[in-house]
């Protein structure tokens, strides 16, 4: 080829030519012998297995041929096996690729070449304590293998074909875990599957029956064959015979020893027929054999086919149950065993759940305990705080009382602004303090702060109502309400205030309040500049005239801070209580017949209740009596 290449174009031509020669189509069309490179791979009683290259598919396959040219029956039987295998297309059954006759007219069939070991080899090595094999084939892996054999048989039975020579030698396990059942040479057609071509069934069956009846031999392998096979003759053989074989294979997978091991073939057959089978766990006590699996194995190997599993699917179901940790049908069930299995198949979940429950219980206990302690602490704190509250209340009441008494002093001293503050303080410390509220009402009323006073009086009355005194109206309230209605932005004059006060408040009551109201009005009324003293004199005269029911004429002199009021000679003047809160430097009342001068009638309940405490000098007639609760600090002179 090299010599042809001398230019770029020639390179292309060579490539083109080469491409054509090596194309698959070219290769395929030039095949003249399909199977070449034969090498003997193994041999059985009647046939040889040859490893050969299939030039069409380009792969290496297994070719089965008869050992030597045989009689018609053997050839027929050989081809029968091929046709049966061809009928079975399942991942766990060796696939058949081709059936044919070679140049010499000898029949052959081609199967997949399985690279691997037979189950027999694996079991032998396991028996010899090969450590590597134990790690490669622990029980779960062996059970996997067994399930694949079951799958193959379940499928074959569904196609109405029984293997009848199932044994570890006929099972190949590949390096990649593939398991295939081989050697269907003794397979029987069960003759009840309608899917199968009738003529094929008949032709196959014709020879098999004839063959078996004619030979009259026992077919199968002692140790794996079922009792009914071992009896020979016309004993019915069906899928349950395969189930027996499956049982004995499981037996061996479990305890790595034969279920039946007679000294010789005859003894083994005898043992088979007797059905004395030692439990796998007793056969090899050194191995940990699950009871579930042992039960499955023994059920499959019952002497009477009726007592065995009736289908391979039942075995598969039971093994799946075992693998998922459920009860198997072959096992006696007990509650604790079921509980144990439940735990076993959900180990992780069970452990987590138990841990969780423990944590929850522990947490709850701690929580309850802390709740208890918390409650105790809360109770203690409550009691403590109640005590504190009580103490606080007591202190508040005391404080309130003290403010109240201060307020009252200021009130009697005509310091109503201070009195308001003190009463308010008393109320803050004890909102239910009725007297303090009424004191506040009076102090506000004196200063003509009627709206505030009215609010307070409402609260005071509510407080009273709470104490179940059925009081809805009050003279002071009515009085202040009317005055509030009169009120403008100017201070109310004595002439405006007096009639309202008199209207609502009885003559002899609340003199302190009344005289303060009058005094405050007179003092605070807006005056005409330059006529201040005169106007005050007019007011005082008017007030006294109203009170004494006849005209009183008095003369007022001096400045606002040193008022000199001369009422002398007013023979009709009998009552001067209404002006008791005015401040006079001199009050001259001689030659009058004053009878009423004290705003309190009985014994004073407060030291500051005395009347005319703001009068510095009093001038009276010699015979004039001065009331003991009036003019206490006043200098009295007689004329």
């Amino acid at each position: 080829m090299n010599d042809d290449i001398e230019s770029w174009e020639s390179l292309y031509d060579v490539a083109d030519e080469d491409g054509r020669e090596n194309s698959l189509l070219n290769t395929l069309s030039n095949i003249d012998k399909r199977y070449t490179n034969a090498q003997l791979a193994g041999s059985g009683a009647m046939k040889k297995i040859i490893r050969t290259t299939d030039n069409v598919s380009g792969r290496i396959v297994a070719k089965a041929v008869l050992k030597s040219s045989q009689d018609e029956q053997t050839v027929e039987s050989f081809l029968r096996e091929a046709r049966i295998t061809a009928m079975l297309q399942h991942p766990n059954i060796v696939p058949l690729y081709d059936i044919g006759l070679d140049e010499q007219g000898q029949p052959f069939f081609i199967m997949k070449l399985i690279q691997g070991r037979t189950l027999r080899d694996i079991l032998e090595e396991l028996k010899n304590d090969n450590e590597k094999d134990f790690t490669d084939y622990p029980l779960p892996v062996r059970i996997d293998i067994f399930l694949k054999i079951c799958d193959a048989l379940a499928y074959a039975h569904s196609r109405a074909i029984a293997h009848l020579d199932l044994k570890p030698d006929n099972i190949t396990v590949s390096t990649y875990g593939d398991v295939v059942v081989c050697d269907w040479g003794l397979a029987a057609i069960l003759g009840r599957n309608e899917e199968i071509d009738q003529t094929l069934t008949e032709s196959l069956d014709y020879y098999s029956k004839r063959y078996y009846t004619l030979s009259g031999e026992i077919k199968g392998t002692p140790g794996y064959m079922s009792p009914e096979q071992a009896k020979g003759g016309n004993e019915a053989k069906d899928e349950r015979s395969d189930i027996y074989a499956l049982g004995s294979i499981l037996y061996e997978l479990l305890c790595l020893d034969h279920a039946l091991d007679g000294e010789n073939v005859k003894e083994t057959i005898d043992l088979t027929l007797k059905g004395h089978i030692l439990a796998p766990s007793r056969k090899n006590p050194g191995l940990n054999i699950p009871a579930s699996l042992e039960a499955i194995c023994l059920k499959a190997m019952k002497l009477d086919p009726k007592e065995r599993y009736q289908s391979v699917d039942d075995i598969i179901t039971d093994i799946d149950s075992y693998r998922h940790g459920y009860m198997t049908a072959a096992e006696e069930s007990s509650f604790f065993r079921q509980l144990y299995l439940l735990y076993k198949r959900n180990k992780q979940i069970c452990l987590s759940a138990m841990a969780l429950v423990f944590v929850i219980v522990l947490g709850s206990l701690i929580f309850i305990d802390s709740l208890k302690k918390e409650k105790e602490r809360t109770n203690e704190a409550l009691i403590k705080s109640q005590k504190l509250l009580d103490l606080n209340e007591k202190m508040s009441i005391e404080t309130s009382k003290s403010y109240f008494s201060e307020g009252r002093s200021e009130y009697y001293l005509f310091n109503n602004s201070k009195a308001v503050d003190a009463f308010k303080a008393a109320i803050i410390h004890n909102p239910k303090f009725y007297q303090a509220r009424m004191g506040l009402v009076k102090s506000l009323g004196v200063q003509q702060r009627y709206s505030e006073a009215l609010k307070q009086i409402d609260i005071a009355l509510t407080v009273k109502n709470l104490r179940r005194h059925n009081v809805h109206s009050d003279p002071i309230k009515d009085c202040f309400a009317e005055l509030e209605a009169l009120k403008s932005d100017k201070v109310l004059t004595i002439q405006e205030v007096y009639p309202v006060v008199v209207k609502h408040i009885e003559t002899d009551k609340l003199y302190t309040l009344k005289s303060q109201i009058y005094a405050w009005a007179i003092i605070n009324t807006e005056r005409t500049p330059g006529k201040k003293i005169f106007e005050v004199q007019q007011d005082l005269n008017w007030l006294l005239s109203q009170e004494n029911k006849l005209e009183i004429k008095g003369k007022l002199r001096g400045g606002l801070n040193s008022l000199k009021y001369d009422l002398s000679g007013n023979s009709g003047l009998r009552d001067i209580r209404c002006i008791s809160y005015m401040s006079f430097s001199i009050l001259d009342v001689h030659d009058s017949k004053i009878e009423e001068m004290s705003t309190i009638s009985g014994f004073p309940s407060h030291k500051n209740m005395d009347s005319f405490k703001f009068t510095k000098n009093l001038i009276v007639s010699k015979e004039q009596h001065v009331h003991e609760n009036a003019f206490i600090k006043t200098k009295v002179s007689y004329k």
Binding site: N2, Y12, G19, S23, L25
Partner: protein, 191 residues
């Protein structure tokens, strides 16, 4: 026996009708179309114009191209369009829309055009294969092999590059199979 084309690259370009695949298409087939048109005896300054028009027509018509071994290979199809473009050079296809409607690609190719198509294809594929593999070669191997393919004698090369004749022939033995493989690959890819 027909030689089968897997036409992977071709298929890819056909399927993905985008700017990117246009660029790929132009990059691959422009040199071939150029050489085919050149052999039609077109004036040198007009070649580029025809190549451009041919590429555009090809691009437009590509979805219609059906790979049918009986009707001919992709390179014949390209040549047919190139021939058509050159023969109709008076027509200017300014608008692409017109192309679709008006062009009727001849279904057959005259034997001489087929010959041109084949010859140029051989060169085109061989050169492309050479471009693809030459970077992996040592300088001397590269120079000696390409000189051999250009027709220079072994003696002359030996003298010019001061290389033993033996080395030159060993090189050839080593490089030729690589070239053949690459040519076969391109053949499959490009049709």
């Amino acid at each position: 026996m027909k030689y089968y084309t897997r036409q992977t690259l071709l298929q890819k370009i056909k399927d993905v009708y985008s700017e990117d695949s246009w660029n790929e298409f132009v990059e691959i087939y422009r040199p071939y179309i150029y050489h085919v048109i050149k052999t039609f005896g077109v004036k040198a300054h007009e070649i580029e114009d025809h190549v451009q028009t041919t590429l555009i027509v090809c691009w437009q018509k590509l979805p219609e191209f059906q790979y049918e071994p009986d009707k001919g290979r992709f390179r014949y199809w390209l040549s047919r369009i190139a021939k058509y473009t050159v023969s109709n050079h008076s027509r200017k296809y300014r608008r692409r829309a017109e192309l679709d409607q008006e062009i009727e690609i001849p279904t057959s190719l005259s034997p001489e055009i087929e010959e041109i198509s084949d010859r140029e294809w051989k060169m085109f594929i061989s050169k492309m294969a050479w471009d693809n593999i030459k970077d992996d070669l040592t300088e001397n191997s590269r120079l000696s092999f390409s000189a051999l393919m250009e027709g220079e004698s072994v003696e002359s090369i030996s003298e010019r590059l001061s290389m033993p004749k033996n080395t030159i022939s060993v090189n050839k033995k080593r490089i030729a199979p690589k070239m053949i493989k690459e040519i076969q690959r391109l053949q499959r890819e490009l049709g």
